[in-house]
Structure formats: C-alpha cells, structure tokens
Amino acid sequence: MSEKNWIEVGSTDSIEEEDLIRFDHQDKTFCVYKLTDGFYATDGICTHEAVHLEDGLVMDDEIECPMHQGIFNIKSGEALSPPACEDLKTYPVKVDNDKIFIKID
C-alpha cells in the first residue's frame, strides 16, 4: 500500500465509542466510526437519497440513516434495510500514534 493515500482524520479521542464523525477531504465526504473493536470508515452520503449519515444512529455494527431509516453494516457497507438497497462504500482505516488515518483510493 502506498503511503500517500493514507489521509489523517484526527486523534483517536475525537470520536466517542459507538459514534462517528464526519470527515471531508477535497470534494469527498466520509463518516469515520469508533466501534467497540476499532475504527471504520464509509462514504458519508446515504446511497438512497443524498443525505449525510453524520446525523445517523450508530448501534452495534450498524449505521442507520436519519432520513428514512435505511440501515448499513459499517464494516462491510452492506445495505441491510430498505429503503436503502445499494451498498455503502467502505475504506481501510489504521491508527498510528493515536491518530486515525483512512485510505482513500
């Protein structure tokens, strides 16, 4: 993996457990999550209609869209509940020196 695509998101204590933060980079927007077993990242915008998932509810390994309750698995991006039917893109995450990085392709 080339180092240059790893983008710093922020420090590990910037996200509460079972919660997420929004991260914008250039013209793209992401959600970065802290779950009980680590950090994860997905696209920021719901695949159903264009609403940001930053205000969604994180429960266990799932993010629920605040607009129509479409549900996605945070780790795989899989759309689990209608009206969402298209999967959400996920991104690799690493932690280095208490800092979170995501790999954007």
Partner: protein, 409 residues
C-alpha cells in the same frame, strides 16, 4: 403441508409477505394478484423524486422479476371483483376463478374523491399510483398556476415538488392547520412557513364551493366568496381503506379490516396487512390503522411469518416520514394519548421535536428539521417507547444532551 396461498393486492405489504412466506415455507404455491400491471413498487417517491425527475420508474421497484422467479413467487396482473369466503374463491370480472387455502388481503387504500356536481371529474387529478404520477408529471409541463385541494402530507409533498419545478402553487385546506390535528400545531406552522418562503400560497379554514371550467382553465369559488384562477387542479383529501370488495361479506370491517396482533381477520385462514388493516397493537392495547412505508413492510413480514406457521405478534412502533423542500418530518408512536408534552429545540436548522408522554413514558413524538436533523432522536424515541422506559425529562428537553443516554442497555 403444501398450500395454495393467495395474496390479494400487489403492493408493499403483499411483496414483503410473499418473500417472508417463502423464507419459511419452500413448498406452498404463492401467488400475488395485483390490479396494477406492474411489479410491487415504492409509492413515497411518486409525490417527490419521481415528479422531480430525480427517480425514474425503474428506481421504484422493490425487486426485479428475477428475484420473484428465483423464489418461485407468482405475480398475476388481475383485478379481483368478487370474493366468496365460504368456498375460498376469488373471481375476476371475466369470471376467472382463484381458489386458496390461505388468503392475505393487502389491497391498500383508495383516495377520497371530491363530490363535484358538474362534469369535472376528469379535470381533477389524484395521486396514489404510478400511472397517476406519470399523468400529473406530463400534464403540469405546460401549466403554470396549480391548485392543490387538501393540505395533508401527499398534497404538501406535491406542492413542494411542483414549486421546485417553478410552478405557482396554491394549497387550500379546510381546517385551521396543515397535516391534520395529529401533527402539533407548532410543527405544522413551521412547515407552512417553509412553503410560504418558497413562494407557495397556503389558504387555511376555507372550503371549495364550486369549481367552474373556463376554456382551458378553472375558477375555484371558496366559501368566503373569494375566487382562485388556476390552470390545473389536484386533490389530496385523504384516503380510505380499500375494502369495497368485502362490504357484503361476513369479514369484520371497522375503519379497514379488523385484525388481531397476528394479522388474523375474523375469518379463519384469512389475513390482512398494510394500509387496509385496522390492527390490534399489544403495546398500545388498542386497534389502529396506519398508512406508512415502514408499517406496510413490517406488517407484511409479520403476516408472512404467521401464514407460514411462525406465530409472531406485531409490536412494531409506528413510524412515518414526509419530505417537503429541504425539510424531513418524522412521526413515531401515537401522539393522541398523553398527559404531558415536552419540546426539544426551537430552531428548524437543528430540528424541533415534540414528545407526548403519559405517566412519564413516551407514547409518541413528532419532529421536523432540515433533512437529517431529527431522525436519530426520533429513532431513539421509538426504542424508548418500545422498552416502555421512564424518561428523564431534563434530557428530553435539552438539545445539548444526547438522547442515547436514555437507552438502558
């Protein structure tokens, strides 16, 4: 045991029931009979993204014909015109006969129609299905002034979409607030202001006395003698459960088909789900009828389980949404049984929610905000209602305190 299962009504509840039956019963024949010559599709976009051309017909289908084929679910395009419960038979106009062992009725609801005296019936448009959405979309293309009779959810959503298509929209509502009394007046007023800010005209407390056709246009006379000139009229004045077919049978009807918490009707082996059913909700200990996307899905799934022999109570907390302009409104639980109301927030940009409490527990809540701003709190509210939690009112009323603190794990 292999059975003939028929699902009457090929909408949302019907398709979810069919797939759930198949999950639990690989043997039985499952046949959906649908009046619309279309596979089951989502209705919410009809008044919103479909009118706005952000979604097309292909985007609306729940599943492709491949999925139905793979799961061995048969779909037949036919209008059923007669039912014989005693002999377990359904008939079409041409006397095609369908015999069932188990029947699920998921016929949805019909729009109420205005009673117009002169030959105007073809000049007033209604919206319930894809055909009607297509017609409205095409007809408004060369119209400018549009009048919508009825300020309920569907009327207001059409008003929002047509305004975004640069039409001059007037909404006429008979009562003193939009969206009916179930919505807190404060929230109705916030939605009304948004419509006005976008150029829509909202007329409350007025009735239509007469509609007159003038060449290609119309004059609408209101009960205060004011006149509205308009190029096109759409009515959204509410709906009724689709039960005409059962009126002279022994199926128990009362504001829809009466069902228990297992989706069972008064007749053995006959079930009902979705908009058409007035079902018993064990958490609220009363019957209710809902017209919502989430309910049609979950109720269909519950009926499917029960039909397949997996006895399941329906305990889903009611939830629905409406999208108008950049607003998302959500309603959960029931908002008509309370001894206390608590307000959370007062800025539409951050979301405003009214909680309805009884004995310190939430019975329901209604919120509105710029898209994305009320969903999480409303979802947590549904969970608190489901768990019958006694809530800390300080947290409910203070938008700076997160509601998920109230969920006991």
């Amino acid at each position: 045991m292999k059975k003939n299962i028929i699902i009457l009504g090929g909408g949302q509840a019907g398709i979810y029931a069919a797939r759930e039956i198949r999950k639990n019963d690989t043997e039985s024949n499952i046949k959906i009979l649908g009046e619309e010559n279309l596979l089951p599709y989502e209705r919410p976009p009809l008044s919103k993204d479909f009118l706005l051309d952000k979604k097309n017909e292909q985007d609306l289908y729940f599943h492709s014909s491949e999925v139905l084929k793979n799961e061995n679910i048969d779909f037949e395009n036919i209008l059923i015109t007669k039912v014989d419960f005693e002999h377990k038979k359904l008939f079409s106009k041409n006397e095609d006969v369908y015999t069932y062992d188990t029947l699920l009725i998921s016929t949805g609801s019909d729009n109420k129609r205005l009673s117009l005296d002169n030959n105007l019936n073809d000049d007033v448009y209604y919206l319930r299905n894809l055909e009607e959405a297509k017609t409205i979309k095409e007809k408004v293309l060369n119209k400018n002034k549009i009048t919508i009779i009825g300020g309920g959810f569907i009327g207001l959503e059409i008003a929002s979409s047509l305004s975004q298509l640069q039409k001059k929209v007037t909404v006429i509502e008979i009562s003193n607030q939009l969206m009916g009394r179930i919505i807190p007046k404060q929230i109705a007023d916030l939605v009304q202001s948004t419509h006005i800010d976008h150029g829509n005209k909202i007329i409350l407390n007025k009735q239509i006395d007469k509609i007159t056709k003038k060449n290609d246009n119309f004059e609408i006379l209101l009960n205060d003698n004011s006149l509205i000139e308009t190029d096109f009229v759409i009515a959204g004045i509410g709906s009724t459960p689709s039960v005409k077919l059962f009126e002279n049978t022994n199926l128990k009807l009362d504001n829809g088909i009466v069902t228990n918490q297992f989706c069972e009707t008064s007749i053995k082996n006959v079930y009902a789900a979705g908009d058409v059913s007035n079902f018993y909700h064990p958490l609220y200990e009363r019957n209710m009828r809902l017209e919502s996307y989430q309910h049609a899905q979950n109720h269909g799934i519950c009926a499917g389980k029960n039909i397949a022999g997996v006895k399941t109570e329906y305990t889903s907390i009611p939830w629905m949404w409406s999208d108008q302009f950049n607003l998302n409104l959500q309603l959960t639980g029931i908002c008509d049984e309370y001894d206390e109301i608590i307000e959370r927030g007062n800025d539409i940009n951050k979301g405003v929610i009214y909680f309805f409490l009884k004995n310190n527990k939430i019975r329901g809540a209604c919120g509105v905000g710029i898209i994305g701003k009320v969903g999480r709190d409303i979802r947590i509210t549904s969970k608190l209602t489901e768990k019958d939690t006694i809530v800390d009112k300080q947290i409910l009323s203070d938008q700076n305190l997160k509601l998920n603190k109230l969920i006991q794990k």
